[in-house]
């Protein structure tokens, strides 16, 4: 088996724009981040009402997967065997705070089950797995900063162990003013070698 892996596609979602493989596909003219994510949903013509029930972190995760896994020309059989490896700095802290606020006042104690279910950072990956019927490995790591070296080694390990045919990796940070997503697919197809430096380079492209 050829153990050479490539970054076959990548995507950035920021408060300013969405780009796929370095090409801007949508710019945010006026909306806040949450509203912009809805605009992305509409722009790519999604029909998935569960999207609106998700927290911001899961919406971001979901859209990154939509943009890369079902892009034109993608191999359906390949994306069914896609493992998910995500990471961020703030875990699900924003939603955790929202839940905490709803249980602080004993006189007004009405925690929302729909908020509570998103108080883990890996729930967005679950949404992706349900949407794309993935029964593959998934892992979520919390780091102080983006860790290309760790991610490179971890994804290669999964691929070499034949746990999957490709991997969708993501850095999905949602807390306060820090709101952005970076996604890339690692497989045996492509032209950009899957190296620590190349991961770092495309991460910093946004």
């Amino acid at each position: 088996m050829d153990n050479t892996y490539f970054i076959s596609d990548f995507c950035h979602i920021t408060a300013e724009e969405v780009s796929v493989n370095g090409t801007v596909i949508l710019k945010n003219e006026t909306a806040g981040f949450e509203t912009f994510l809805k605009e992305v949903y509409q722009a790519i013509d999604l029909k998935y009402s569960k999207f609106f029930k998700m927290d911001t972190l899961s919406k971001l995760t979901f859209l990154g997967a939509e943009l890369l896994l079902k892009k034109e020309g993608s191999d359906v059989e390949n994306w069914k065997e896609t493992a998910l490896v995500f990471s961020n700095k703030s875990s699900s802290l924003e939603t955790d705070r929202k839940h905490q606020q709803s249980i602080e006042d004993s006189e007004n104690f009405y925690p929302s089950p729909a908020v509570f279910v998103y108080t883990l950072p890996n729930i967005g990956m679950g949404e992706v797995a349900i949407r794309h019927q993935l029964q593959t490995d998934n892992a979520f790591f919390v780091f102080d900063e983006f860790e290309p070296e760790f991610l490179q080694k971890y994804t290669v390990s999964l691929l070499q162990e034949k746990k999957c045919s490709q991997i969708l990796c993501g850095w999905t940070e949602v807390d306060g003013v820090s709101r952005h997503g970076f996604f890339y697919v690692v497989s045996q197809h492509g032209t950009t070698l899957h190296t620590k430096q190349n991961i770092k380079n495309i991460y910093t492209q946004s």
């Binding site: 809805k38 009402s49 609106f52 029930k53 009405y110 925690p111 929302s112 089950p113 729909a114 279910v117």
Partner: protein, 85 residues
Amino acid sequence: MEALKQELKESIIETLNLEEFSPADIDDNDALFGDGLGLDSIDALELIVLLDKDYGIKLTDPEESKTIFKSVEVLATYIEANRTK
């Protein structure tokens, strides 16, 4: 009763984030779960919280909630008979 049904439709849309629906899209007798609005188990829990928060009704029997959440019509009738606020 008509005002309560309208209020419920608006609350359900807002609370359950049914952004692709407007109150006019929900018929009084539409099934809330299954083939109707397609609500799920987390939505059912949200409706239980909504009944407590907005109408002072505490549901404890899951079987009872299955019946009460059949449609807006059934839900409004139940609220009218049991509300404490």
